[in-house]
Symmetry: C2
Subunit: 222 residues, 2 copies
Amino acid sequence: MNMGESAAAVAVGSNSNGNNDDSGEVVKSRFKRVCVFCGSSSGNRNCYKDAAIDLAQELITGETVGEVRPVADMHQRKAEMARQSDCFIALPGGYGTLEELLEVITWAQLGIHDKPVGLLNVDGYYNNLLIFIDKAVDDGFIKPSQRNIFVSAPNAKELVQKLEEYVPVKDGVIAKAKWEVEQQQQPPQQQQQVGFNATTSTTAAAATTTTPTTLQQTEIVL
Amino acid sequence: MNMGESAAAVAVGSNSNGNNDDSGEVVKSRFKRVCVFCGSSSGNRNCYKDAAIDLAQELITGETVGEVRPVADMHQRKAEMARQSDCFIALPGGYGTLEELLEVITWAQLGIHDKPVGLLNVDGYYNNLLIFIDKAVDDGFIKPSQRNIFVSAPNAKELVQKLEEYVPVKDGVIAKAKWEVEQQQQPPQQQQQVGFNATTSTTAAAATTTTPTTLQQTEIVL
């Protein structure tokens, strides 16, 4: 993948993150699948690569399951990953990573999901973004409560702990309820009308293995 | 609209922005339609409201055309606005504005469009975001050439001038060419198979007035 694109993966581990608490007992995690956004480049400092490895070790301790799920396009890819995940983590990255992070934050703000979102702030990489967001709150563009839609920490261990303790911001619940009602009202035969056209052999295979579904279901309701 | 959502509009003006150059002649603009992203809140400082008014005066001098175009969902809304626009401008805003800005930047990075993108950095509002992006370049997550996908300026006059002079970054041309070929290969009857399901009367109206099209056309190819 070229630098400048973004990468993402859903890490699927056991129901335990394998960490021991102070008493030595294994702590059960609330997360089974974690969506990790990161740059397609590992950056030019070793700390970023090390942080990615640390995060992987923190997240995956049980038997891992490799699963490749074909999708028709990048919107479906993002929506599918979001729907399948229990939480989101952004490692350092570029425009694409930032866009993916802000998309899941915005979806949380709109009440489309209430899953935890975390920023792995490796060696202060995201400090200036955090300062910018604090200014957006101070200047009235983001509600103070919505500042807490995401959490951040300098290392994987602290970040995972914050994500485990995360309490959803409640501002967007009405929007979520509304969209869920709309989805339930759709008659089954209407859902069959919408699929994904694809023209190359690769994406045609993706389209045929994807269950036909509505754009609303695929793109918005997670 | 509640604070925390984002607002956007396509400003449609005459083919001239009405500005005089040093010789007193009216300068023709290359832009007929400008997509403006901004917070749904005007912020708690007067400078943000003033900047929005200045920008409107800079952009719209001819006879304006009010047009409301129904869409099926937020993805189609964003893609349609992007497709209809000749350039993009972000005023100060919150998560949603930042996400919309980064989406059009990422689309430019991927070669999906080569339209100018501008940040109206009112009273340094976006300074820390710009510092963060410079760090992303320094640390190898964004190519130096891609730093110039967007321009920024402290006031509307300077920003519009930079947008007029904008030269597209060429890194993503291959991806665009590929997608255009895919689009051309689609037989017409396949395009008719994909529309937008909608359940409420409002969105049903939107679906019927929307020309059936492929997801790739609607969402990706601008």
